[in-house]
């Protein structure tokens, strides 16, 4: 059974969305202007099965994050259909759902709740999460005293404790140190062996090589290529260095 299926999905942004205030909205009603529309994603078709791991690569603005937020159900497609079967955990932005004034422990509980844990399950998993993060005694300090890497450790630890069917990671892993990255890779391998789906984006191609077997190359919202990771990354790298 495919866990994630995208059928000719497009996401269109239009300049219309700039009307942030009533006045500009009313003005646009009186003077309807032609709105520039552009495709953040155009006709993307994709199917992922149990145990699949997909790396999404492409230059800035290619539509990588848009793709992940569509799969997460955080925004809706303008064309095409998306089917997602299973529990999704998303690490789309470092520290979203975290608050700087709360302690690490309070943030763990808050995020566990955000990810859909019950109170009992959050209690059961709490030690495991803190242990995996390696934050140690700082767990009772406010988050604003943490380094970026420490925040990411905590975020990753909570998100993988959910035991998601589908894990989405957007450009987050890069901030961890190499020890923790190795730990993340091991954790993700475990999830994959358990039949989970991983989709991640990164500009650090080395990380992607450790995690994924397939790759999707996006450019200006369109799929340039899709296929086995090794070949595609080689091609991507040579095109990137060729283009400067």
């Amino acid at each position: 059974m495919s866990l994630v299926r995208l059928n000719a999905v497009s996401k269109i942004y239009s300049r219309k969305m700039d009307r942030k205030f009533l006045r500009s909205y009313l003005w646009s009603r009186v003077h309807p202007a032609r709105h520039e529309r552009f495709y953040a994603l155009k006709q993307v078709t994709l199917g992922l099965h149990e145990g699949d791991s997909l790396a999404v690569v492409g230059p800035n603005g290619a539509g990588k994050s848009t793709l992940l937020s569509l799969i997460a159900g955080l925004s809706s497609p303008d064309e095409g259909q998306i089917q997602v079967n299973g529990r999704v955990a998303a690490l789309l932005e470092l520290g979203s759902g975290f608050h700087a004034d709360l302690t690490g422990a309070e943030n763990v509980l808050l995020n566990a709740a955000l990810l859909g844990f019950s109170r009992r399950r959050a209690r059961e998993k709490f030690d495991q999460i803190v242990d995996f993060s390696g934050i140690g005694e700082f767990i009772n300090e406010p988050l604003r005293t943490y380094s970026t890497g420490m925040v990411m450790r905590l975020a990753f630890s909570v998100a993988t404790a959910v035991d998601p069917d589908i894990l989405l990671i957007d450009e987050v892993l890069a901030v961890g140190d190499s020890d923790f990255q190795a730990k993340c890779v091991r954790k993700i391998q475990e999830l994959k062996q358990a039949g989970r789906v991983l989709i991640c984006t990164s500009h650090v191609l080395g990380t992607l090589r450790d995690l994924c077997t397939r790759a999707l190359w996006l450019d200006r919202g369109q799929v340039l290529r899709e296929g086995p990771l090794a070949e595609l990354l080689a091609e991507y790298q040579s095109s990137a260095s060729g283009a400067g």
Binding site: M17, R19, R23, S75, V88, E93, G97, D101, G116, S118
Partner: protein, 254 residues
């Protein structure tokens, strides 16, 4: 993506708001009490010393019965309205039932509300009014006000995502409502033909019910309670529908 643990999520979001607000304020509770006390003192001074026509006995209790429900309404509505925008990180990047954002914000304000209700009860008792059986209605009356503010905030917070000036409209509406809710004047002063219109305003209804119960020792008229119930429930249902419709494009506008 199905959430079964709304309770735990709601609890944690409320705790978050509360902790953030009070963590660095050792006098946290004091601030909740200061504002209604100052308002009570000022309004009492003006309407018993400056405008001396008032015939209401125990004017300070009378006016506090108006200030406490109105204060909660005004503060909770404004913070509810901006809540989705304030939490855009959550709304854009975290998979969660988005309705919970304005609702938890309004509920976090209830902690203030409870403190202020305790103040109101203390003032009522110290003025010599006794406890009566109708006090049992108070949780329902205040509860319906919370329901009303939740519904209203669902609508205004969703609109605020699309039009950022909705919050200013809300602030202005609060200023107007301060005069249109019988806070410092008795309901009997309102011309008869406006009576029923007044009662459809849930905040006015809560204020009137409070005075009935706490000061007059009698049950609020059933029609008043029906109107409070229906208008509040209507706004909650309408709020959920409007929010449910508008939330689909939140990520594109935030």
């Amino acid at each position: 993506m199905l959430y079964r643990n709304y309770g735990f999520l709601l609890r944690n979001l409320i705790l978050r708001d509360f902790r953030i607000r009070y963590r660095n304020m050792s006098l946290g509770v004091f601030w909740s009490l200061l504002n209604p006390l100052v308002m009570m003192a000022v309004l009492t001074f003006i309407f018993t010393r400056v405008f001396t026509g008032s015939s209401v006995p125990n004017f300070h209790v009378f006016v506090l019965c108006g200030i406490v429900p109105f204060n909660f309404f005004a503060v909770a509505w404004v913070s509810g309205t901006t809540s989705v925008y304030q939490n855009s990180g959550l709304v854009k990047k975290v998979i969660l039932p988005r309705e919970i954002v304005p609702i938890s914000t309004v509920l976090a304000n209830c902690i203030h509300f409870l403190i202020q209700i305790a103040l109101l009860v203390a003032v009522v008792l110290s003025a010599g009014y006794g406890v009566n059986g109708y006090w049992a209605l108070l949780p329902m009356v205040f509860g319906l006000e919370v329901v009303f503010v939740c519904g209203l905030s669902l609508i205004s917070s969703a609109l605020d995502v699309y039009f950022r000036d909705v919050r200013y409209v809300v602030e202005s509406a609060n200023t107007v409502l301060f005069w249109l809710v019988p806070i410092f004047y008795p309901f009997t002063a309102v011309p008869y033909r406006f009576n029923s219109l007044y009662q459809y305003n849930p905040i006015a209804a809560v204020v009137l019910a409070c005075r009935n119960i706490l000061m007059e020792g009698k049950a609020p008229p059933p029609t008043l309670l029906y109107k409070l119930f229906f208008v509040s429930s209507f706004f909650l249902v309408a709020g959920l529908l409007v929010f449910g419709r508008l939330k689909r494009k939140f990520a594109d506008y935030l």
